[in-house]
């Protein structure tokens, strides 16, 4: 579904990501692990079109997308849930969700998706007229995911969904991702919380200072103590 090949990304003259390649197959949950500053967010922002790669090719559903605009990618079924959730704090919960459906002009579709979103997230329906900024961290993460689901993406990309959340909430978020994945959505995840992420992942890549140093099945990487120590810190 997504092929990243020999991609190099930089800001100005500084190269941040060096010649990386990885792929995501339809229906998989893939995790990219790495510490702070390894280049994880840079890779995701480049995939969704916020940033341009210096070299290499990115293909999504067999189409070259390295020059595509974010709105075109949203239209084609790719959605990013950004780092730190980035909900709109001064829009109501309802408005946040509707913004997620900005490109969808069909009122019927919006209505039916809204219905299934509120079925999945009853808390959001209770709070639909509250300002986004008044939600708790966990609720904001749910809102960020709900907002992304409003265009029924085929590939959902999440940038550190566990960031700043209490462990019990992290568990809920990953359970939700598993559930979304089983409903047919392919999931690409970037995480520092190696353990929880690897539990639900089919495959994982380990990123260190802009290079992929390891790849394998989720279980393999989770059970490998050396890797844990070397790249992931204490897990």
């Amino acid at each position: 579904m997504l092929q990243v090949e020999n991609v190099t990304i930089g800001y100005g003259k500084t190269e941040v990501v060096h010649n990386i390649s990885f792929h995501v197959k339809k229906g998989e949950i893939i995790t990219i692990l790495g510490a702070n500053g390894a280049g994880k967010s840079t890779i995701l922002n480049t995939i969704v079109g916020l940033h341009q790669a210096k070299e290499g090719s990115i293909r999504f559903q067999d189409k070259e997308i390295s020059k595509a605009r974010p709105d075109q990618l949203v239209q084609n079924g790719m959605r990013l849930v950004p780092e730190g959730r980035q909900i709109f704090p001064q829009h109501t919960v309802m408005e946040n969700i509707l913004l997620g459906a900005y490109i969808e002009k069909n009122a019927k579709k919006i209505h039916s998706r809204l219905h299934s979103i509120f079925e999945r997230f009853p808390r959001l329906e209770e709070r639909k007229n509250q300002m986004g900024g008044t939600l708790s961290g966990g609720e904001q993460q749910m809102l960020a995911i709900a907002r992304a689901l409003m265009t029924e993406p085929s590939l959902l990309i999440l940038d550190e969904p566990s960031l700043g959340l209490a462990p019990i909430i992290v568990g809920e978020v990953f359970a939700l991702l598993k559930q979304i994945s089983s409903s047919g959505v392919t999931v690409l995840l970037v995480e520092q919380m190696a353990n929880s992420a690897l539990k639900i992942s089919d495959r994982a890549y380990v990123l260190e200072t802009g290079r992929i140093v390891l790849e394998g099945r989720g279980e393999e990487i989770r059970n490998n103590a050396d890797i844990a120590k070397a790249y992931l810190g204490n897990v």
Binding site: V48, G49, L50, R69, P70, D71, V74, Q75, R79, L80, P82, G84, Q86, F88, P89, Q90, H91, E95, L98, L99, G100, Y102, I103, M131, G133, T134, L135, S136, G137, Q140, R147, T151, G164
Partner: protein, 295 residues
């Protein structure tokens, strides 16, 4: 009484001008330094259409609005969009000033240097309310400003476009990953700003005379009103505009006419020093407002 109505009428137009600056500032964080010139072009083109082509008021202003919309979109395309990321590039200061100077010089060649008497709406007809003589034109100034202000707030708060404008002003990149084309939204904001500028220019021209120097004589007040109300705060624009109008009105009663503008700008400087975020940033008005967000 008469003076107060005049002050309120002028203030309403300053408010419209400040609103137009705020519309652009809120989505781009840049100040459109060409805005004074855009107001002037609105006044001059409508004057031209009125006096040379003998159009009626409504058609002339409508055409001036259209011309200004196109002009503002061109200004955005040429002097702003090409610069890329505006947070890392302050060339817009020069390109927008440059665009303004080009417009001023063009206007000077096209329309001449002589200030023109711009006709009042309803031929300057005066009505008497409770013994006070009020020009219908002044009442129209207030009415039009209020209608535009209310319409703008409705659009911003209730429509899809408005939600997107607020999203782009708050988090442009996040707005983009929602599928919103931020550049399109900003282009629309420039267009709206140009339209509002044409209306405000045409309504104030009968009072100030229509001339290419309106860029500075009138345009500068737009910036003053915007700053007093708080840059980018579109409700504050109205507070700023009306305050500026009242300050001017009061100042012209107690000091010689030549000092009127000096007093207004002195007060603007004081407001900016005391309340850098504009009048609406005073504690009195921010009670209970959401200031921080949770991470």
């Amino acid at each position: 009484m008469q003076e107060i109505v005049t002050a309120l009428a002028n203030g309403s137009i300053y408010a419209l001008m400040a609103l137009a600056i705020g519309i652009i500032y809120s989505t781009t964080q840049i100040i459109n330094f060409a805005h004074g010139s855009v107001i002037m072009i609105g006044a001059m083109t409508s004057y031209w259409l009125l006096s040379i082509f003998h159009m009626n008021y409504f058609t002339a202003i409508l055409l001036a609005v259209l011309i200004n919309i196109i002009l503002s979109m061109v200004i955005y395309k040429v002097s702003v969009e090409k610069l890329g990321d505006l947070t890392q590039n302050s060339s817009w200061i020069v390109t927008l000033f440059g665009a303004g100077i080009i417009l001023d010089n063009t206007a000077r060649i096209l329309f001449g240097t002589e200030p023109k008497a711009y006709p009042f709406l309803f031929d300057g007809h005066v009505i008497s309310i409770f013994g006070t003589k009020i020009m219908i034109h002044e009442m129209m100034m207030i009415l039009v400003a209020v209608i535009i202000g209310v319409l703008y707030q409705i659009v911003i708060q209730k429509t899809n476009f408005g939600r997107a404008v607020r999203a782009v002003s708050f988090r442009p990149d996040t707005a983009r990953i929602m599928g919103i084309r931020s550049n399109r939204i900003v282009l629309m904001c420039f267009a709206i700003s140009g339209a509002v500028a044409a209306i405000s220019g045409a309504l104030i021209a009968p009072i100030t005379f229509a001339s290419y120097t309106m860029t500075y004589s009138v345009g500068i007040k737009a910036f003053a009103a915007a700053l007093i109300g708080g840059l980018g705060n579109t409700k504050g624009a109205f507070i700023g505009g009306i305050s500026l109008g009242l300050i001017e009105g009061i100042a012209s009663m107690i000091v010689p006419g030549g000092l009127k503008d000096a007093i207004s700008f002195l007060i603007m400087i004081i407001v900016i020093i005391v309340l850098p975020g504009g009048i609406l940033s005073a504690k009195l008005f921010t009670k209970g407002e959401l200031k921080t967000e949770k991470i």
